[in-house]
């Protein structure tokens, strides 16, 4: 029996990563290395205004005084920041007026990823911003959105076209001093998405950005800023993939969300960066700072994440509940297999009165992986009647993996009601046999069971992506139990 299990667990591997191809496209890259010159060069390439360069340089100066964080349950190999290329752009004509001008190789890449950029193909009504390596390739449906006053464009474009909005909000939720990777991103970020929903507008379609790392030895440092003005609503989705490469690649992103009075933002992520091979070789290091500010009264921010990729994930999408009566939610499924490591969770900071937060975290560990939930709930002195409910579940496949839960509580107001529930379970041989006995194969049984376990979270995703996420969960666990 035990032997069988070992054999089976060693088979864990064969879950193939579908998105591992490399696009053969010429790119415009700068040399490896990180210094003030490089930062000036990036800024210059992007034709940035002076204030932007200053922001970058301040961030860089600060970063140099900081150290890699080491408090997470992660074994992070030494990263040589001088051995990374900080800017790489697929070469193409400067201004794209229509899709015909996009390099066919590039179009092909996004088609292979299942992300059609041709608008007539977009039956689901999803507007897409595609970011390859350091730059945004194409944003669809821009015009339809503009008619409603909605801005959805690449971050670089926003810096040029809407500098006042960018200046007003950038760095207000995640200051560059926030942490090591936030400082690094602020210094070298290359592109990302920008969203502004004007007062009283309900964005009629999902907005989505697909991030793709293509070039070798290149880090991806994107920045996303979403501002939902009073009484507005938007649902935003982010997806990510990368080629299979033997060396590790660094991804350090920042996402900032600001929800003003009565505004609601739903942010969903399906993260499928290359996780490395079965022996733990290669894969993306994913160090991401995501934070939302419920700034206005009665505002609401929800994070939903399905994390299946990356060799290392360090990520805590958080919310600051500043406005009275504001609501924040965090729904997460994190899968680790083989040698993957994930330390992920959230922070809910209650500042306003009558604020409410919900945390639902579902960890799934297989192979020799390690999966940790780390969550902080803080209720400030003046945050009367704050409520939090946290549920942290772990599901184990096999007995060589680890699951850990680190809930932190800091409550400074006695009217707060904070509840925490945690469970750990295993997929039982008996459950799998029961499915087998009904004609369901073991792979499909695991898919069913895992998706059943993660249902609460999957249900939060927009329909089109829920299906994709379900498949992804199953694929990433293929071969993990026999």
């Amino acid at each position: 029996m035990e032997k069988d299990q070992d054999i089976i667990l060693n088979e864990v591997t064969q879950s193939e990563y579908k998105y591992g191809f490399v696009t053969d496209i010429e790119s415009d890259s700068i040399p490896k290395g990180l210094n003030e010159e490089v930062i000036r060069l990036i800024s210059e390439k992007k034709n940035e205004p002076e204030w932007m360069l200053e922001f970058r340089l301040k961030a860089f100066a600060h970063w140099k005084t900081m150290k890699n964080p080491n408090w997470a349950m992660l074994k992070i190999p030494e990263i040589d920041y001088q051995d990374i290329v900080y800017y790489s752009a697929p070469k193409q004509k400067k201004q794209l007026n229509s899709l015909d001008e996009v390099d066919p190789e590039l179009l092909d890449t996004f088609n292979k990823l299942g992300i059609p950029l041709e608008e007539q193909k977009l039956l689901t009504g999803v507007a897409v911003d595609a970011v390859m390596d350091s730059v945004s390739v194409k944003t669809t449906f821009k015009k339809n959105l503009a008619d409603l006053g909605i801005i959805f464009c690449s971050f670089s474009e926003a810096v040029q076209e809407y500098p006042d909005l960018v200046k007003k909000y950038m760095g207000t939720v995640v200051p560059y001093r926030d942490n090591y990777f936030a400082a690094l991103n602020s210094a070298v970020f290359s592109d990302g998405s920008f969203v502004y929903i004007p007062k009283g507008v309900r964005c009629p379609m999902e907005l989505s950005t697909y991030f793709r790392i293509n070039a070798a030895n290149t880090g991806q440092f994107e920045r996303t800023l979403i501002v939902a003005d009073d009484d507005s609503y938007v649902s935003y989705l982010e997806g990510c993939t990368a080629p299979m490469r033997d060396e590790n690649q660094l991804h350090a992103a920042i996402v900032e969300i600001i929800a003003l009075e009565n505004a609601e933002v739903k942010y969903s992520t399906v993260q499928n960066w290359y996780p490395g091979d079965k022996d733990g070789k290669g894969g993306i290091y994913n160090f991401v700072t995501k934070r939302g500010l419920c700034k206005g009264r009665n505002s609401k921010i929800s994070w939903t994440q399905v994390e299946t990729g990356s060799a290392i994930t360090w990520k805590y999408p958080s919310c600051i509940l500043k406005g009275d009566d504001s609501i924040a939610e965090f729904y997460s499924v994190a899968v680790t297999n083989n040698h993957q490591q994930a330390d992920t969770g959230t922070k809910m900071i209650h500042l306003g009165k009558n604020t409410k937060s919900t945390i639902v975290s579902k960890g799934i560990s297989a192979g020799k992986s390690n999966n940790s939930y780390r969550g902080l709930v803080r209720v400030a002195k003046n945050a009367s009647n704050a409520r939090n409910f946290s549920q942290c579940d772990s599901l184990l496949l096999g007995d060589q993996c680890g699951a850990h839960t680190f809930p932190y509580l800091e409550v400074d107001n006695s009217s707060a009601i904070v509840e925490h529930e945690a469970t750990t379970s295993k997929i039982g041989e008996d459950q799998i046999f029961y499915c087998n006995q009904r004609g369901i194969s073991t792979e499909d049984a695991i898919g069913l069971i895992v998706n059943g376990y993660a249902k609460e979270v999957i249900n939060q995703l927009p329909m089109e992506f829920a299906v994709e996420a379900q498949k992804l969960l199953q694929i990433s666990l293929e071969g993990s139990v026999g």
Binding site: N436, Q437, G439, S441, I449, G452
Partner: protein
């Protein structure tokens, strides 16, 4: 349909089935009775391919094919169904989704198209009526929080949905109230055709008043030690197993 020859099976080196033979033909109902721990559930597990058990000797043929090495799902798809003595809970997986996956996988193996949503729901409705199971149950997750009796009834519902050739019902009657017992038995009877066969494992003659067996077998210490017609069940009810045990344990003393 099913032929078991000199089957030996063990778990963790301990032999549980010790030379068991049994022939089941289409259209027949066989009852297997026997004391606790005699190996009835083990037989059901081995027939359905559970790999906790190691088959050390013997042969299982189903419809002319040696299925000894087949994976559990392949046996199920070929038409072998097990009503579990202790049905398993699968949290978060809806009965509908579960049944649909099961049914379509089975159909795929038979080169049939998957059922459309409409056909599938129609079939759910029909079978729910047949076994008088409440939609409240089939709308929930597989067996999650079901009472003991509800779980048993759900097994029969699944059997009705999948229409197996050979159904093995492991103590489906235990835990059922009197009405439920009648309903479940009626369900089994109505699903009976000249082409399929049923093995009912039970401790009580009561069930056999409803599901009339063609044969009753006594399993003891991993072997079938006695086979007869339905009247054997009555005799067992009256006399218990002691007389059989004595006979087996001391073969020199003949009754």
């Amino acid at each position: 349909m099913l032929s078991i020859k000199d089957l030996h099976a063990s778990i963790q080196g301990k032999e549980i089935l010790r030379g068991l033979s049994l022939e089941v033909k289409a259209g027949e109902v066989h009852a297997i009775m026997g004391p606790n721990g005699s190996g009835k559930s083990t037989l059901a597990s081995v027939l359905t391919g559970r790999d906790l058990f190691e088959v050390t000797h013997g042969e299982i043929t189903f419809e002319g094919q040696d299925i000894g090495e087949w994976a559990p799902e392949d046996r199920a798809r070929a038409g072998i169904f097990l009503g579990f003595q202790y049905p398993i809970e699968i949290p978060g997986v809806s009965m509908t989704n579960f049944m649909r996956t099961a049914l379509n996988e089975t159909r795929k193996a038979q080169n049939l198209e998957p059922l459309s949503s409409k056909e599938f729901l129609q079939r759910m409705r029909e079978k729910k009526e047949l076994v008088e199971i409440d939609s409240k149950l089939t709308n929930r997750s597989v067996n999650e929080g079901f009472s003991g009796g509800e779980k048993k009834r759900n097994e029969i519902f699944q059997m009705a949905m999948l229409e197996p050739k050979l159904a093995i019902l492991d103590e489906t009657d235990s835990g059922l109230d009197i009405d439920a017992l009648r309903i479940v038995a009626n369900g089994v009877n109505r699903l009976k055709t000249p082409e399929n066969a049923t093995i009912v494992i039970t401790h009580y003659q009561r069930l056999l008043d409803y599901i009339i067996p063609d044969f009753v077998h006594v399993l003891y210490e991993g072997r079938i030690v006695m086979s007869a017609g339905k009247e054997l069940a009555l005799e067992l009810e009256e006399k218990g197993y002691d007389w059989i045990k004595k006979q087996v344990d001391n073969p020199l003393i003949t009754l």
